[in-house]
Symmetry: C2
Subunit: 269 residues, 2 copies
């Protein structure tokens, strides 16, 4: 255990970077000066850099040059893994051998690790699930039932997939562990769902955020996702309504009514 980056890195061949998303760039920049030759990275952070909307692996590549990168994501509540409950996760890399190498390192009888080549999709799922979990929480706070929550989660996966596909991801990745899977845990037990529930009950965002020491990642990710949707020309009906509720004073019930009033369409569109 050390706080000295040079000592921590040493001459490692595999480096796990588990650094909160808004601090990753600074640490990666400092690490560039003492990076071990040929050392590959596994990034375990979820989120987007707010200022640039960059994914974590993009930041790593920008700051550490041509380093080989893999990313880890999935429905992984840390305390459950620490208790030895079964869990599963995905390691994605454009270098399939690197993904398999990390898969073998992390796989145990209680943690099942799948590989993927879709770095963009795996990273986006871990970020975009948070605004959707806020939407599911708002439905809970309004007293709606399981039908409404299931609809938000299901159409939310379609919404992530549309934005992801426009950004170069494989749409199917969002039906996997890093998209749907992580969305489910977040909608069952996460703090973003809890935050949405408070909003749905009529509390103000400021009052909720002042009442808890927790960071609600989805608040900022909602802004980033709306910006990405505009850039890519992709409609994000659910996330745009979350944005309107949080930043445009739209009443939650009116936001849901707008979602229900949209023109009828085919499920595949």
């Amino acid at each position: 255990m050390t706080a000295d980056l040079r000592v921590a890195l040493g001459d490692s061949t595999l480096v796990v970077l588990a650094i909160p998303s808004q601090y990753l760039r600074g640490v990666a920049r400092r690490a560039a000066g003492c990076w071990p030759r040929g050392g590959a990275v596994l990034s375990a952070a979820k989120g987007l850099e707010l200022r640039t909307q960059r994914r974590m692996s993009q930041i790593i590549t920008e700051e550490l040059g041509g380093v080989r990168v893999a990313v880890l994501s999935g429905p992984n509540i840390a305390s459950e893994i620490a208790q030895g409950h079964p869990a599963s996760s995905v390691v994605a890399s454009r270098d399939p051998r690197l993904a398999v190498r990390f898969q073998r390192l992390f796989m145990t009888g209680r943690l099942r690790v799948y590989t993927s080549r879709d770095v963009v999709g795996v990273e986006l799922g871990g970020a975009l699930k948070n605004p959707l979990a806020i939407a599911a929480g708002i439905a809970d706070g309004l007293g709606f039932g399981f039908n409404a929550k299931a609809a938000i989660m299901t159409r939310g996966v379609a919404e992530m997939a549309r934005l992801g596909a426009a950004m170069g991801a494989n749409a199917r990745t969002f039906s996997g562990l890093s998209g749907l899977g992580d969305l489910i845990t977040t909608c069952l037990g996460g703090r973003n769902r809890w935050f949405g529930e408070q909003i749905g009950r009529g509390r103000s965002m400021g009052a909720i955020l002042r009442s808890t020491p927790m960071v609600i990642e989805g608040v900022q990710t909602t802004k980033a996702a709306v910006a990405l949707g505009h850039q890519q020309g992709v409609e994000l009906p659910i996330i745009e309504q979350v944005y309107a509720v949080l930043f445009r004073k739209r009443p939650p019930r009116a936001a849901f009514a707008s979602l229900m009033r949209r023109a009828g369409r085919s499920e595949s569109s």
Copy 2:
């Protein structure tokens, strides 16, 4: 309101058949003799005929000849819809105009109806979600957390999609409202999940079934799904473990251990 089939059918142009899956063939056969000319069907039943493993629309076509058929499925707990909570559903038909016709009839400010052309996929999702909800319930009963439940649901969607694709469905349908969406409501509040939880706690299937007047559809569907998997040569790791627990006295914890011990693989396989 009438119990006379001939009076009920009259000269209707659109007929909704909401008949429990094991009784549909008998009613359809009796209806054939007084079927209104050109009358199209919307089937609202979920499930497979146990003896033949046929889907509901197949039975209707077999018994009513060339009648035009659409099917309705999705995350639709009836009591929530009766209370006016928002919900969404899918109408699938090979005849796109018939699907749109039923969509317009059923769509309100509180029930959002999507169309689909994938009859096979929409029908299979409503049936196969039940064995998967039993698996999720078993995880609950064993005291596992949200990570394990999310993994079962996510890999369960992949499992439904593999079997469905072999049977002519579009794999993507299973990530929609009639697959994933219905699986979510069933895993949040359904009786199949409850049944699985009792199994996970160590109660015997016989004792549980004797203690409730409810029909646990997933018990029989597990048998039908395993038979379909064998016919199609498709591996169904989760449903096969549910089968082993229910019908082969495999302890639930051992069934989960088997799932975790499978060889490492790519998420897309």
